[in-house]
């Protein structure tokens, strides 16, 4: 019984871990190309889930998810073009405040559009009570869906950044923007693209976990803090490490419920964030020497 409970908590942790990992990856994509931490990252997840629920009213599920991802990508691109594209070398403080402002506006817009209600997509296969049994541990198929989607996203992203021209151009832009410009890479378009890409990934995550965690207009900011914790934990800019860090955080949180009141769950992950920032800001898997050279 004890062992079963242990694995049950583990599975719950992995489920939350995937969504944290995907939000963390979203942070990393934008940070890599722009040097900006996008505080509105969690809002993309919320937008994806909410839009998919609305579209699902008159579209089959796969089309609704596709539509939600595309719409959120468009919103991400639009946000970049309206608020960020034309700023000339803005200070970090200014960017922080602008992205916080964007996240508030998106959240309030969602409140006006969708109201305060909690919504969710239907389970992709089966329903709330269908479960696969692995030696006594019961796992919802949706958990496998979210793990699978997270895995596919990570692999595709890696292939994209390693083997496509566009991906390489984005990496060049991340390494040295001036040099990339001199090589004829349209760096401004790369930045827009990074917002579109991370909005799309966030929206996809929002759709996949919506049946389990449900979606509400206000979930974004909490997810943003968790995602940032994950990005820091893995080392800012390192997407593969973010996945590992996401699982670590998800599992830690899940087991903390075992010993502490649920209300303190958020405090756990944030204490972890603070401890990392104070003790090892380069991340668990990051290189300390390389971190010192970064402009921060």
């Amino acid at each position: 019984m004890f062992l079963e409970l242990f694995f049950q908590y583990l599975v719950a942790g992995l489920t939350y871990g995937t969504i944290y990992a995907i939000v963390g990856i979203g942070f990393n994509i934008i940070y890599n190309t722009t040097g900006i931490i996008n505080f509105a990252q969690g809002e993309f997840v919320m937008l994806g889930g909410m839009t998919a629920v609305t579209l699902h009213a008159f579209l089959p599920l796969p089309l609704a998810i596709l539509g939600a991802v595309l719409i959120t990508m468009a919103v991400g691109g639009l946000i970049e073009m309206v608020f960020i594209r034309w700023l000339v070398k803005p200070s970090v403080l200014r960017m922080i405040i602008i992205t916080i402002g964007i996240s508030i506006l998106v959240r309030e817009a969602a409140l006006v559009i969708w109201g305060e209600g909690v919504r969710s997509l239907p389970y992709f296969t089966g329903n709330e009570i269908s479960a696969l049994s692995f030696g006594g541990v019961r796992v919802s198929p949706q958990v496998l869906w979210s793990l699978g989607v997270c895995g596919v996203v990570v692999v595709l992203l890696n292939l994209f950044f390693k083997f496509t021209m566009l991906g390489r151009e984005m990496r060049a832009c991340a390494a040295n923007r001036d040099a990339a410009t001199l090589c004829g890479i349209p760096t401004r378009n790369m930045i827009t693209l990074s917002f579109v890409l991370s909005a799309g990934i966030g929206a996809l995550a929002g759709c996949v976990v919506s049946p389990i965690t449900q979606t509400q207009y206000a979930i974004g900011s909490g997810l943003a803090i968790k995602g940032f914790t994950v990005a820091i934990l893995g080392g800012l800019g390192n997407s593969m490490a973010a996945v590992a860090a996401g699982f670590i955080l998800g599992i830690l949180e899940s087991f903390s419920i075992w010993v502490m009141p649920t209300a303190y769950k958020d405090a756990i992950s944030i204490s972890l964030l603070l401890a990392m920032l104070f003790l090892r800001p380069s991340g668990l898997f990051g290189n300390r020497e390389a971190f010192k050279l970064k402009d921060f």
Partner: protein
């Protein structure tokens, strides 16, 4: 310079009195309630202005310090210690009138800490916490500093929301009035509206005087040098870490004072006072006021807080502050009072030319 500063404080007091007379003349005495609350919020905001505009350090967790002050005072003044009445310590404390008898909500006798004692404990606690948080946090810069302070604010919020002793989602109510001096009581009673209005704004005037003296002194120059170029300031022999830390603690203490007074004035405090949105709102107002302009920040704080508290923004309250943040940061990062339309148009025209 010195006379100029005192002159400005004098103008502030005159306008405070003028506003009171105006509400009296218009028969809108009830506006004073919101104006008093505005004053307390302004106290946090001018402290944050010192930290952000002069020392150049962002804090997205100032509502946390406000809540620490307010909740400590609320808990200590409502805690019933009658059970320990017979102990020697309680006897001594009662003689010193640190413990006072009062009637609780149901009309029964209760023994609680005097608000002054609670206020001092709340302040000490805030200073200690600000110190403990400030030492590691202020070593961080940029995004990391923003996230760390945001994390601090979130922790305070989730503790306040999740702890039964703090009333969880309901907060703490029936906090007693705060007898400041004989004849001066911080309380929301309608009869004391005018005196409370002056207490609150008097406190703001004291805060402004303190901060204005500070920024025009050696400390202020050191802070501005840190804001301009921290490495250069450090090379010139400015102890940057110590100055940043002291500024952080001072602004946290101002937030806590505001928290204590507003809690006694409202007769209670709820978890929404600790929410991140409050912290962001304070940052927004400092940004509108022009970051490094105490007077600009105070004026914008008075206007925006009053409009918000009177409910002029309706259900779009948060959206208004979000929009303000973006618009100010995009078009006029120096604040709205410094906004130069001519310069803006000139810049745009220049861009059009090849």
């Amino acid at each position: 310079m010195r006379t100029g500063r005192h002159l400005h404080i004098f103008y502030l007091l005159i306008s405070v009195a003028a506003v009171q007379l105006l509400t009296f003349a218009l028969g809108k005495g009830f506006y004073l309630t919101q104006l008093t609350m505005t004053a307390y919020y302004s106290l946090i905001i001018i402290g944050l202005c010192l930290l952000m505009g002069y020392a150049g350090q962002i804090s997205l967790g100032h509502a946390g310090f406000f809540a620490i002050g307010g909740y400590t005072s609320a808990v200590l003044t409502t805690l019933d210690l009658s059970a320990h009445k017979s102990t020697a310590l309680a006897g001594v404390l009662t003689k010193l009138s640190i413990l006072v008898a009062r009637q609780d909500l149901y009309g029964e006798q209760a023994l609680s800490l005097h608000p002054w004692a609670a206020c001092i404990i709340a302040l000490l606690l805030t200073v200690v916490i600000a110190y403990a948080i400030g030492v590691p946090v202020l070593k961080l810069k940029g995004h990391y500093l923003a996230m760390a302070t945001l994390g601090f604010g979130t922790i305070i919020y989730s503790i306040v929301l999740g702890t039964q002793q703090f009333g969880a989602a309901d907060g703490i109510s029936s906090v007693p009035a705060f007898p400041l001096l004989p004849g001066l009581t911080v309380s929301g009673a309608a009869g004391l509206r005018i005196s409370n209005y002056y207490i609150a704004w008097g406190l703001v005037a004291c805060g402004m005087l303190l901060l204005l003296n500070l920024i025009n002194s050696r400390v202020g120059r050191a802070l501005r040098s840190i804001h301009g170029a921290e490495d250069a300031a450090s090379a010139m022999g400015v102890d940057t870490a110590a100055y940043k830390l002291r500024t952080f603690v001072l602004s946290a203490a101002l937030a806590a004072v505001a928290g204590v007074f507003l809690t006694h004035y409202n007769g209670g405090i709820g978890p929404s006072e600790a929410s991140i949105m409050k912290s962001v709102r304070y940052v927004a107002i400092v940004a509108v006021g022009g970051m490094s302009s105490l007077w600009g920040t105070l004026i914008m704080s008075a206007v925006l807080n009053f409009l918000s508290l009177r409910g002029y923004f309706g259900s779009l309250d948060d959206a208004v502050f979000g929009a303000i943040l973006i618009v100010i940061m995009l078009f006029s990062p120096e604040g709205i009072l410094q906004f130069d339309v001519k310069e803006m148009v000139k810049k745009m025209l220049r861009k059009e030319q090849p």
